[in-house]
Symmetry: C2
Subunit: 168 residues, 2 copies
DNA sequence: ATAAACTTTCAATAATTTTTGAAAGTTTAA
DNA sequence: TTAAACTTTCAAAAATTATTGAAAGTTTAT
């Protein structure tokens, strides 16, 4: 396969994966484009490459910066802003884990804790089932949270080394 | 907090979490409702409880069965079908991991492998960057895949026991 | 100060996803 | 059979989400 075709395929696959995981398809595609680009790109170049509008490009780039996945770069003597992606895949994974933990896992843990305090007739099967489900989910979410916490601090090789030992 | 209010809050939170992770909100809500219900429920009851239409309820229930998260139950001497959710949270996590691995991770791994075979001028920075990114993602995805594989086979306590040892 | 180069905003529009509900389909009992 | 009870389908409508593009805003050089 030729590079040009491979790039298109990669961008498409990354976009699809993103949309399946609740990430805007265009955002994932812009990220993909920057990931495989050796040089930082301008808004203009990104617009052309992906056939998207200026407004869309601008908002998407802003979001990606908010996720900590890309950065702006200024070139000496140039007015234009250039964008480039962190190419370290472990950093990317950590960054995504960190943001989703903060944006989604933590709010859910908060709600679950509130729900643990539900009151009522302790003999009511409805209440018993409810409390059991909430407690079980809470426990699982807590373990996920701790594991992510470890991952955030860890070096890639150490993390996978440790986790994959589970096979022995 | 009263049980009735807590239920609503739980259903809402579960629905929101689902939608953030690419799962239809209604589907997550139906799942939440069944999770906290000690008894199996009929389509009718689910429709009323969540104020959704018959068609929506039917499709959503079918999807949940497809995900292996709920099952039909037949009660002796009754025409109606009842639905109930597996209450074991570890089973739920495994089931979701299994389906998403199959539906999303595996297709991506397949594409990444195809993309590894890209050809071109080995001195071209574009090609070098592309190959590096694809290889790195491939490696990470492979590790995730192996870890999920282990999780699918594992007992909850053993799995978390092993993974959380990483802290010591 | 001016204007060119560039970035951001946001109301309108388009695309996508979800939901509805009535009609068609199926199963069971008599 | 027939009809009642129940389930499924799917085209149309509604709701949600993403995108456009032109106007407004900002920065820099002169």
């Amino acid at each position: 396969m030729e590079l040009a075709a491979a790039k298109l395929k990669f961008i498409e696959a990354w976009g699809k994966l993103g949309s399946e995981w609740g990430i805007n398809r265009t955002m994932a595609q812009v990220h993909a484009l920057l990931l495989i680009s050796p040089e930082a790109l301008t808004t203009e170049e990104i617009m052309e490459n992906l056939s998207i509008s200026r407004g869309n490009a601008n908002m998407t780039l802003r979001d990606l910066i908010g996720w900590g996945l890309i950065e702006k770069q200024h070139k000496a003597g140039e007015r234009k802003e250039y964008f480039f992606a962190d190419k370290d895949v472990w950093n990317i994974a950590r960054q995504v884990a960190k943001e989703r933990k903060k944006r989604e896992l933590e709010p859910v843990l908060k709600v679950l804790n509130e729900l643990s305090a539900v009151t009522g007739d302790e003999k009511d099967p409805e209440l018993i089932t409810f409390k059991k489900s909430v407690a079980d989910i809470n426990k699982l979410a807590g373990n996920v949270d701790k594991t992510l916490e470890t991952m955030l601090k860890a070096e890639e090789s150490w993390f996978w080394g440790s986790v994959l030992k589970v096979f022995k």
